[in-house]
């Protein structure tokens, strides 16, 4: 281990020749209320031609600012105060407006989050793609030809038809392909990908990432990629920089950084992710205490010192050196205590949770039988849920997964009675049937079944204090009023690790994690038996997510609450759920114990969902990719609803007869014509024997 002076040079690329992107000691401020506040504090890195460099870190750490500064597209109040950004040897920070325009047209491109917004909604796709070529000086007919070619290159099968459409007529995956096609129009030297798959479904995300992988081999553009999903970065980027409070605190080859992190922040970030199939009862997730410093905070020494488990006096008085690490010449960590990384305490062991599985003489806390939900749309029946059968034991967590449009949220709303299920089904709490609609349910039934929503911002009354929000729920759910209610609110808050100070704040004064804590406290106000959680952590950073997941596990351990946990994050569901139900087009395709669902053999749809996730652990998976989009529930395909997208569909069977949900192993059911052992053979999974784990 050597300590090197990085000075102004920054990390030099090992690759011969000039780097395609060279960011050197970049300092950026945002002017907020007349004061310049530091956002980037001396960011340096280089990306060689053909190399992909990832930036990771939680929101607010400066990764997007770095990317936008590299293309000099900062917000109005943003300003580069010092440092340089060189692309192909030319300093972007010193360019005139005309040169900058030329630079953006010919040398740099960007692909953004949310492709639906990234295209002009009022212009045809063709016009927008053609424009990317006319700006390079091509004549209109040439540009049109090149545009068609570009769309073919991003694997759009019918480019003429796509050119003629408007952006809103395309699916999310298709929109992102078009944006990528525009970005590649000029054969850029630098391609910036800013969360290119966030908000897309897992299977679509996998398609887009595959496309990026293939295209990377065809160009020698340097790729700068931002993603909060570490798995994506690992699967796509050669090297990665971990950012915290406007500084790169650790850098190196992706696999090395993710497998043996050498900065306390990286360690915390990685340990807060549910990984390696660990479950809540085995180990709790690591959290990073405290919160990210605000932009412009005064951080004279180590930026991470206030939250670091290794921090000592040296860390508070001396700027940490850039410590070069063994292995890659570009690997470094900015830490005084790289040699003590192993001393960071492991997360605590998990909490014991007793699950009372439903049995013949012990009814489940929640039972759904023949639950369907049909919406009416212009005299057209849209079946959003079809014949759902579920039961939930006390203290059990049932994960519900599926792509958007699969009916996950409809199922949650039907359970709660927000959208009453169709007549004919039975919904029972503790063995007693309850009415389908909330308005007809008794106060006790309402209290027993509560919900936590994805977005606490819209779930909490923003003009009320936390105390008032919780007191209202206590009164509404339990009938307790006045001082007694207030006492209950304080007990509840303490239980949820909210301090009394938080009680007198309004939601907007709280961070995202605290807001979600209040939303959970609200659901727990009346001692619910079942809490339905609809993507409760998908808007949160991973370390905050870890705290919320730990909290949910603790509450479950103490209160023996059952959860229905809706998520698209397979890592989270594996950590938290005892059983998993996979939904497609409103039908349960597979349901079974978590381990069996993850180990397989699986329903082909589950197989596709599982193989779509890029893992931060870098595990290789057999890939199956789904073609096309989820069909409209108003017009479901014949036979098995999954057959048009199923890579294993058997013509003549799957397209004519809908398979039944059949128990293939104890507690594990599937809706597939292919026999279980045949699926195991196809998927290369040995069949579980009764003695196997």
């Amino acid at each position: 281990m050597t300590i090197v002076d990085m000075g102004h040079g920054g990390a030099r690329s090992a690759t011969a020749g000039a780097p395609a992107l060279e960011v050197d000691d970049l300092n950026v401020v945002y002017t907020v209320r007349g004061i310049d506040r530091e956002v980037l504090r001396g960011v340096s890195f280089t990306v060689a031609p053909g190399e992909a460099f990832g930036l990771v870190g939680e929101s607010g750490c400066g990764k997007s600012t770095t990317a936008y500064a590299a293309l000099r597209y900062l917000p109005r109040n943003g300003k580069i105060v010092s440092g340089s950004v060189r692309v192909g040897g030319r300093d972007v920070t010193a360019m005139s407006d005309a040169a900058l325009q030329e630079f953006r047209a010919r040398e740099a491109s960007m692909v953004y989050q949310d492709p639906a917004q990234a295209m002009n909604p009022t212009l045809r796709v063709g016009k927008q793609v053609v424009e990317a070529f006319t700006v390079l000086g091509h004549s209109a007919p040439d540009a049109a030809k090149l545009a068609l070619e570009a769309l073919r290159k991003v694997r759009i099968a019918d480019p003429e038809r796509v050119m003629d459409r408007y952006p809103f007529q395309l699916s999310g995956g298709m929109q992102q392909r078009v944006v990528i096609a525009m970005a590649l129009a000029c054969h850029p030297k630098l391609l910036v990908l800013d969360e290119p798959t966030t908000g897309l479904d897992a299977t679509v995300e996998a398609e887009v990432l595959d496309l990026v992988r293939v295209l990377r081999q065809e160009t020698d553009a340097a790729v700068l990629m931002i993603a909060h999903n570490l798995g994506i970065i690992r699967s796509l980027c050669d090297r990665v920089g971990v950012m915290y409070a406007g500084k790169i605190v650790e850098q190196g080859p992706s696999a090395e950084v993710f497998d043996s992190p050498q900065h306390p922040y990286t360690v915390g970030l990685l340990r807060s992710l549910p990984r390696h199939g660990v479950r809540k009862t085995e180990r709790s997730l690591a959290t990073i205490p405290g919160i990210l410093p605000l932009i412009g905070a005064h951080l004279p020494t180590c930026v991470f010192v206030d939250r670091c488990p290794l921090a000592d006096d040296k860390c508070r008085t001396e700027v940490p050196p850039v410590v070069a690490l063994e292995g890659d010449p570009n690997r470094f960590s900015r830490c005084h205590h790289v040699d003590r990384i192993a001393d960071i305490p492991e997360p605590e062991p998990g909490v014991p949770i007793t699950v009372l599985s439903p049995s013949a003489d012990q009814p489940g806390v929640l039972e759904l039988s023949h639950i369907s939900k049909t919406f009416r749309q212009r005299n057209h029946a849209v079946p959003a849920l079809v014949d759902v059968e579920l039961e939930l034991g006390e203290g059990e967590t049932l994960g519900i997964v599926g792509e958007s449009g699969s009916g996950k949220s409809t199922l949650a709303r039907a359970m709660l009675g927000i959208d009453a299920a169709d007549a004919g089904g039975v919904l029972a709490l503790n063995g007693t049937q309850v009415p389908p609609s909330t308005t007809e349910r008794s106060a006790d039934d309402k209290r027993a079944l509560q919900m936590v929503f994805q977005n606490p911002d819209s779930a909490l009354n923003r003009s009320w204090s936390v105390r008032r929000i919780l007191a209202r729920s206590v009164t509404k759910l339990t009938g307790v009023k006045g001082a007694a209610a207030n006492k209950r609110v304080e007990a509840l808050a303490a239980h949820l690790r909210l301090t009394p100070r938080h009680l007198d704040l309004k939601p907007r004064q709280l961070s995202g994690g605290l807001k979600q804590r209040v939303a959970i406290a609200r659901a727990f106000a009346g001692d619910p038996r079942i809490v339905v959680c609809d993507e409760p952590t998908s808007a949160l950073d991973v370390s905050v997510q870890a705290a919320i997941l730990n909290l949910l596990a603790d509450l479950q351990s103490a209160e023996r609450t059952s959860y229905v946990f809706i998520t698209h994050d397979m890592g989270v569901v594996r950590y938290l759920a005892d059983r998993i139900a996979v939904l497609y087009l409103g039908r349960i395709q597979e349901i079974g114990p978590t381990n069996e669902v993850f180990n397989g053999p699986n329903h082909p749809y589950t197989e596709a969902l599982l193989s779509a996730i890029p893992s931060v652990d870098g595990e290789e998976k057999t890939r199956i990719r789904l073609e096309g989009e989820i069909p409209s529930p108003a017009n479901p395909p014949s036979g098995c609803v999954f057959h048009p997208r199923c890579p294993r569909a058997m013509p003549g069977v799957c397209d004519t007869t809908e398979p039944q949900l059949v128990e293939v192993a104890a507690g594990h059911s599937m809706r597939c014509h292919i026999p279980f052992d045949e699926l195991g053979r196809l998927q290369g999974v040995p069949l579980p024997t009764p003695n196997d784990d």
Binding site: T122, V135, Y166
Partner: protein
């Protein structure tokens, strides 16, 4: 649309039938013999039961035949259309003056957001739309027509006036109206452009390497102008019928003056005709605005199914 028209006709009927007073007495004056008054009421039908009058009035509204004026015995349709022609000229001129200027001002303000230019435009707009138009009209009249003698104090051009001469008569009242609308339109445009400038697609266009001008013309404006168009269309009806103050100040015989006179004279057919016409202009301009917005926004045109 027909339902709206029917509702409008009904409301107009209800309003005029609650106007106090005997129509015949009002028209013929306090000294006319009672028998005369009764004969007059019989002739124009105001002695018939209310329901019957209502049906007559609805039929008239839909056939655009409002009968004859109580006062002058002229055909109401001719009177109203004449007035409409004059109001139309004035409104058109006001539009030609105000729309380009206020849209351009709005765009400039948006591009220079929070800078001095923006502040000046926003505040000028605020001032212009908060001063009542008859005040602006009076000020313009006294400064330009009376003191400087540049324009005409009476807006009614002589019957044989050519286009240029007519313009000279109309320019002052049109300016007063234009000033009243400048603020609305400029501020609406500014807000629309600022929203579009911050949109992701604008970022995409900039990153493509388009010039600022290309970004503005091809990507920003088309998305930014929808709210402005809505505001303008709502103002059209108002501009035709509502600028009574300006017409009064310049003594212009447009729709506003006609309506004002008809209310005073209890001249129900004229009032009915004028109000129905203004209502129709209102409907047509709103319809045109919706069509224009649909043309600019394919999502509306093609139905947002996705």
């Amino acid at each position: 649309m027909l339902v709206t028209l029917w509702l409008l006709a009904t409301i107009v009927f209800l309003l005029v039938s609650v106007l106090p007073g005997n129509v015949g007495r009002k028209v013929l004056g306090p000294f006319a013999p009672e028998a005369e008054v009764q004969r007059y009421n019989q002739a124009i039908g105001t002695d018939r039961p209310l329901l019957q009058q209502y049906f007559t009035s609805i039929r008239r509204a839909f056939t655009l035949d409002f009968g004859k004026s109580y006062g002058t015995r002229e055909d109401v349709r001719d009177m109203v259309l004449d007035a409409l022609g004059r109001s139309g000229k004035l409104a058109l001129l006001a539009f030609v003056l105000t729309i380009p200027i206020s849209i351009v001002a709005g765009i400039i303000a948006a591009r220079r957001q929070d800078k001095i230019t923006d502040r000046v435009i926003v505040n000028a707009g605020l001032a212009s739309s908060s001063i009542p138009e008859f005040v602006t009209a009076s000020v313009l009249l006294s400064i330009f027509a009376v003191q400087l003698g540049w324009g005409k104090a009476f807006a009614n051009p002589p019957d044989n006036a050519g286009p240029i001469e007519q313009l000279q008569y109309l320019v002052l009242p049109a300016t007063a109206m234009a000033i009243a609308y400048f603020g609305y339109i400029a501020r609406m445009t500014r807000a629309g452009v600022i929203t579009a400038l911050h949109a992701d697609y604008t970022r995409t266009a900039t990153m493509k390497g388009l010039s600022k001008r290309q970004v503005m013309v091809r990507h920003v404006l088309r998305n930014a102008l929808a709210p402005t168009i809505t505001v303008i269309s709502v103002q059209i009806g108002y501009l035709f019928g509502g600028i009574i103050g300006v017409e009064k100040v310049f003594n212009y015989a447009g729709l506003g003056s006609l309506m004002l006179g008809a209310v005073g004279a209890h001249d129900v057919p004229v009032l009915q005709g004028a109000v129905m016409l203004v209502g129709m202009i209102y409907m047509v301009s709103t319809l045109l605005a919706d069509l224009l917005i649909a043309y600019l926004n394919p999502r509306i045109r093609l139905g947002a199914t996705k």
